[in-house]
Symmetry: C2
Subunit: 320 residues, 2 copies
């Protein structure tokens, strides 16, 4: 253990699990653990779990800890370190999570929206190390995003910037959970994606996608689609192609608006691999203003494993 | 003439006319003039016209001039003061306009994209005086935009940011001049708007819009639509409503992405008035993320007359 290495605690607060990691300033996890969130037992219980996890992590270790970073869902006030109405943590209202954890461990504590934490993580440790500006987009249950402009998180007026999942690509499109229509999340969010596949069952009955799950739609996941792609299934291929096109259209609009042309894509799409990335790049190029075309860059995220923990811990090194 | 007042020259370079004004640091025009651009005679002629106009303006006056600001179409490199391929000025290529004018008059010269200049103008002199951040959108032949974030122009990576006209609201929509589909310019740009009206002629023959121009489609302008609205024409009303909705949808996406919720709207739509603004606000509110709703603000631009000259001159005071 070199004395020059700095350490941070990264906490990835999710609705089901809380993940904890001790991370070096060059992005290596030296120790990690996880606990149930126990979200249904209310915020006090969740906070107890967070404290317990951090204690476990620090127990019997003499690492010099620089601070604690927490990536949390929902609206975060960075100045006050509050977490407000996180969607998967019932009963929260507004909680000064930063203050509570900082007081408990006598360590500087930084709380950030999980999508923004992921973007900072990629900038400090990952695919954005050498990029001045980029857009991070995370494909999962929802579609999250974070904007890095000139090596700083672009937070907008209140810290809510980066919601690329709720950029609409079709104002007459399907309804989104947010209340709007045709949001990119409606095309790329996991459950929406599965629904689209199911809707096209009748005309694609022979696709591997369906035989892989014995026609049991409840077992359909993005992983299944990805497996079918790998085995050369045509319908699965067309689904990925479409998905890539939709994402590319949204990214073209973002690039035109913000003049940011490097995109890092993360989340549970690693399995879709090059096919998805190629189709995103192609459709973005096709639709973006000509003057921006030569600069388009689509990169896979590098923190795929433990992205949450690393992203959260990066908040400490970003701030320091 | 108080000695404390600063003066700047504002030059609004257009494809048909070049407008010149001597503007005080509090946004009053004390003298103005204009000349033909003579764009068809090539860039050297246009530059001659610019020099001539500025000379005329400064002739026989002993104002203490702080600098010259030029608003120009096309891609501008702010660092080098170059103007590159402005769409309505044939044969330009890349010209160091800033250097040329600065050398001629021995005055600091600032060149900016006209849409960005308009945004800075509204910040320094107009509706954005008290706003920390806002999006300026200019409706005209095209749809331009400029982003002010924390009292600074958000230029993106290369100075091309703010092209809200090329944010697509329907990826399957009509083709835009830029090559993409469903861009907001396709809905709100003047000629597109007129085309939409003409397309609906058959089912709206009795509309005032058409009788006002004796069914001569070539005479249709936004002003005619606006006149019909004022006289209570239902079809004209529905056109404005639709226009407002489309703009509102685009603005909701921008707000979700950038967390900027104050919008200043300028350009040749003053005549459409409150009806347009109300419908923009309503549809933006309807589609934006719930957490942003309470902060939505739609404001008319204040520099409507001489916006080009004032916007250009504001570059001098912005920089100084």
């Amino acid at each position: 253990m070199s004395k020059n290495i700095k350490y941070a605690v990264g906490v990835d607060l999710g609705g089901t699990f809380i993940k904890f990691g001790l991370v070096t300033s060059d992005g290596k996890i030296v120790k990690k653990t996880f606990l149930d969130s126990k979200a249904n037992e209310g915020p006090e219980k969740v906070i107890k779990q967070i404290k317990r996890g951090i204690k476990d992590l620090l127990d019997k270790s003499d690492y010099k800890i620089t601070g604690i970073g927490i990536g949390a869902p929902g609206v975060i006030s960075i100045k006050r370190g509050t977490v407000e109405n996180p969607p998967n943590l019932p009963g929260w209202g507004k909680i000064h999570l930063g203050k509570i954890i900082s007081k408990e461990f006598k360590l500087d504590t930084f709380v950030e929206n999980d999508a923004n934490a992921a973007a900072i993580g990629e900038m400090i440790f990952g695919a954005g190390k050498k990029l001045n500006s980029f857009l991070m987009i995370t494909l999962g249950t929802g579609v999250g995003g974070g904007i890095i402009f000139e090596r700083k998180l672009f937070r907008g007026e209140t810290g809510a910037a980066g919601e690329i999942g709720h950029l609409s690509i079709d104002y007459k499109g399907d309804k989104c959970n947010c209340g709007s229509f045709g949001c990119i999340e409606v095309y790329a969010g996991n459950s929406y994606l599965i629904n689209r596949v199911v809707k096209e069952y009748e005309s694609n009955k022979s696709s591997l996608i369906f035989s892989l799950v014995n026609n049991n739609f409840d077992s359909l996941t993005p992983k299944v689609i990805s497996d079918a792609v790998i085995q050369g299934d045509q319908f699965a291929n067309s689904i990925i192609q479409q998905l890539g096109n939709h994402i590319g259209y949204a990214l073209a609009s973002v690039a035109n608006l913000m003049d940011i042309t490097s995109i890092i894509i993360g989340g549970g799409v690693a399995g879709f691999g090059e096919k998805l990335f190629d189709s995103i790049e192609l459709s973005m190029r096709e639709r973006v203003l000509k003057s921006l075309q030569p600069r388009i860059k689509i990169l896979p995220a590098k923190l795929s494993n433990d992205a949450g923990i690393k992203g959260a811990s990066s908040l400490v090194f970003y701030k320091n």
